[in-house]
Symmetry: C2
Subunit: 657 residues, 2 copies
Amino acid sequence: MSNRDYACPSSAMNVESVQRVVIPPPKPFIESFKHSMKETLFQDDPLKKFKNQPTSKRFVLALQYFFPILEWAPHYTLQFLKSDLIAGITIASLAIPQGISYAKLANLPPILGLYSSVIPPIIYAMMGSSRDVAVGTVAVGSLLIGSILSREVNPNENPTLYLHLAFTATFCAGLLQLSLGLFRLGFIVDFLSHAAIVGFMGGAATVVCLQQLKAIFGLQHFTRESDVVSVLRSVFTQTSQWRWETAVLGFCFLFYLFLARYFSKRKPKLFWVSAMAPLTCVILGSLLVYFTHAEKHGVQVIGKLKKGINPPSAADLVFVSPYLGIAIKTGFITGIIALAEGIAVGRSFAMCKNYYIDGNKEMLAMGTMNIFGSLTSCYLTTAPFSRTAVNYNAGCKTAASNLVMSIAVMLTLLFLTPLFYYTPLVVLASIIVSAMLGLIDFQAAIHLWKIDKFDFLVCLSAYFGVVFGSVEIGLGIAVSLSLLRLLLFVARPKTFVLGNIPNSAAYRNVEHYPNAHNIPGILILEIDAPIYFANSSYLRERITRWIDEEEERIKEAGQTSLQYVIVDMTAVANIDTSGISMLEEFKKSVDRKGIQLVLVNTGSEVTKKLNKSKFLDEIGHKWVYVTVEEAVGVCSYMIHTHKSNPMRDESEGLNSV
Amino acid sequence: MSNRDYACPSSAMNVESVQRVVIPPPKPFIESFKHSMKETLFQDDPLKKFKNQPTSKRFVLALQYFFPILEWAPHYTLQFLKSDLIAGITIASLAIPQGISYAKLANLPPILGLYSSVIPPIIYAMMGSSRDVAVGTVAVGSLLIGSILSREVNPNENPTLYLHLAFTATFCAGLLQLSLGLFRLGFIVDFLSHAAIVGFMGGAATVVCLQQLKAIFGLQHFTRESDVVSVLRSVFTQTSQWRWETAVLGFCFLFYLFLARYFSKRKPKLFWVSAMAPLTCVILGSLLVYFTHAEKHGVQVIGKLKKGINPPSAADLVFVSPYLGIAIKTGFITGIIALAEGIAVGRSFAMCKNYYIDGNKEMLAMGTMNIFGSLTSCYLTTAPFSRTAVNYNAGCKTAASNLVMSIAVMLTLLFLTPLFYYTPLVVLASIIVSAMLGLIDFQAAIHLWKIDKFDFLVCLSAYFGVVFGSVEIGLGIAVSLSLLRLLLFVARPKTFVLGNIPNSAAYRNVEHYPNAHNIPGILILEIDAPIYFANSSYLRERITRWIDEEEERIKEAGQTSLQYVIVDMTAVANIDTSGISMLEEFKKSVDRKGIQLVLVNTGSEVTKKLNKSKFLDEIGHKWVYVTVEEAVGVCSYMIHTHKSNPMRDESEGLNSV
């Protein structure tokens, strides 16, 4: 390599005018603390609107913040009402059979599924910031409540206690959701990565489908475990108990539901075929049983449903140990999962209509609706994907469609409950299975594999954790793996050698840009993470190895010996005291080899800390440059003017101490 | 601002020749997996030495890896032996009283402290890679074993079981340390940050000192809790039981010990005054009791010590539940703490002599010594700071000083144990207190406060957690806070606006460089962390806010409207699928505003993933530049030649979909 083809000549000449990193102006501790709190918790600056407003206006704005209905109701038109009416009635027709099915999944009385579609939607309509979300109970949440609670209290032996625990758990979930929203801790939900949710939902859907084998084969006894091994063993050890009548009925309805969905997918205008299909199944199934008296031949039916709207349940909440502990645990797990699902669903549909929903506001709405729900005989509700999708396709305009659904379900409760007497359980099972199979998202899993292997691993472990272990095990594995990834990123940051890209002043990773070439006598390194306690020993070892390898290479090639190590700190966002100690040690060890350490582009936070800890004095302010180009310019100027390295004597002095 | 004073004119002219980020060559999955495993676990490339060597040489190298004694023994000289002899005898004189004291701290028979200075030092001498470490029991480890085990088994009521549990816990600790070394998982120790260790050690030292009040005031009954409130209550509710004789004795010895240390610190040549002081105390104290028969006046003494070297204890290990669980828990906690302390001590002294010790090798050595120790009546050993410091000051040359100490202690066990019969416990208490007060490092805490407030918080919470709660609570708080910091870094990355530094092509944070100025019509942002699930929603909100604020500012100032957002991705080391979705959403939302998104310097990992997920096609390869300078050059060229933004039509097209 000739001596001419590196570095910008202008900067190499003009060594004295090169820019050094400045030390940012000091900030009082209180001020920087306030700033970082604001950036951590109020990143969207929610109080911006309130600035420079009179008190009365501020009050209105605050009311509108908590009750978005006050924002949209004044502009509500007849056209909107028409759309919302249609959408509301459509989702009610889906809500009734789904509600009953999911309540069975949670081992709760079927009527609770209907109750849960009355109060929470009203509250969401007032407080929710999404225009498309339709509120109701969800399969995964119901399954979670069922599996956690029934491990502690047997729902068949002690149904009242079980019911009261479900209300208490819902109350706790609501309280958690509300406080997360109030304290703006919504980012906790973000720790459930997309990959984890895909795997977890798929696993939960598989488990829910497997549970339906009980109803489809008309079995009386069934395992209380949810893992695939127990369930299949339970099904296949009872082959003699299988009822062909229910199985045939089940598969017919499943076929019908799939067909309806297929048509709706092919022609989105026919969305109502799919939306109405569950209710059609319920009606057809009930008529069939009524006329054939199949309930006397082993086809299980829902039976009597109590007439009347939600009774109050505030007095039923159990706040005594040991039950309170169980309720809190159940509430916290289900509350977080329900939030994650609800917010994800809300955001996806908001994306389609190009508006934005505020996660913290949604938490307030969902928290409040679950708290009020738990006081009025409802259990955990959130935004179910299927119901929201139907609402969206039915052309809903505002959250008023939830009000319409609520009224429709109320009317059903008041007048139509006797009609469900003959509804066979197997129809409900088919409805659940057809809804669940849509949640197993193979496409998403393949996408994860293609783009990010680690995300795929997270997804897969969540899936198998749920299917072979339990819902909580799957969740635990997924969250731990996701966190491990974050920790691993900090613990094992990337470091690379930079080289000069020909005909440019840029210095980039030589592995990424194979045409980038190195500069004789200078090693340029980049560190790709903050330097923290978790990675400082690693970084010292890894950087030392880079230097050793470079020295070996130089020796073999017989080139200019290594005189400067330039560390590009652009990506080092922060440093802690362990990191500073590491830099001090590293400085000493390169000094001993007669190599000068040069830093480039230390960020404001890092510069401040290096200055306070006197490291900048140690290394010399003149060895901290703004750009790699300038640092290289100075260093190669030094090498080529045969100016001896000023550090060499100092370092020898140090050595003899 | 005039239109002339921004961006390098040469790049603005030569728009067509601007460099784009290249897509790095694809790597098969297996290869990249192997590479990342190597970087994660073998960062120091330990197999490098083995390359291109014949099998026999490889075998020798492997032996030398596991037994560093084979490396240094062949070059051992008589001069070395002389130095090691002196150092070994000096540390033995410290080891004997310290060993007895610390065993009392762990509620174990005093003789165990002597046993523990026999076998482990021999093994360390063969396997350890440090030349300065002197092996033995430590105060914090002893306290931990004492406090965790005695919560489960009362050492007074069931001393045999308690003893056996201590051996089993030591065995488990050794096994853990050995496996961490074998599987190269040493980085787990790195998660105990320096700040956490400072606080934790200070807290433990405080607690240990408080425990000594029992012996100093000659109390018979004492609380089994270790927190400051219980201990002080226990001391001050028994004022009638205080023995002035022991208190006077204790304070005299303490005064003597501090005096000795003061002299040694003033004149490092007199290190032996301080090193011998504990033994002198023991001899003086024993003589005093022997002649005054103070043991009959309430001064408690050690009593009879069994003669003879370590009996085997392999048969004593308890591998049955529930005791195994306790032993594993104790072993894991103490094993990690002992490792952290031992490696930190070893590294600090290696630094002084300019050599480097390998953490993984140290783990192998410490693990093996604890396993063998547990089989020969020793309990948890590591590298105590005080003993190592004395060893270093006494001029040790190799790990052979450990062998000398071991032989000296062995001789004591064989012939001199009766001499300890009259040693008063209060002398041991003084020895512990004087050793412990050195561990409370105010200087370090002040340093932390000055440089890094969060580190100080970690340190303080660890201290108060230990002092007011328990050792485990303190440890738990410290580790959780340290991890929280890492997670917070990823969850809330910094973003800033970049501006052009005058007379330079560099673009830097405008808050750090107040003279950096912005470019009309262009907003340049930098993201300071990888884009992961944990921060993708935050980043979308924060970046959107930057754009909104910039647009507002422009509107107020009546400047060129915003047409380009350049995102500098230099510090974005990685991205996951959630991050890519966020970028896709973000791209759509800026498209809607008619703003073109431009990326700069995407790293090789990020470029690969963006390419695979088709995001690069979406944004257009030509909008991904290598440097901010070039991106700004092209964008401002476009703005100034009044070339309409090519995206504008497309985005309008998108909007109407």
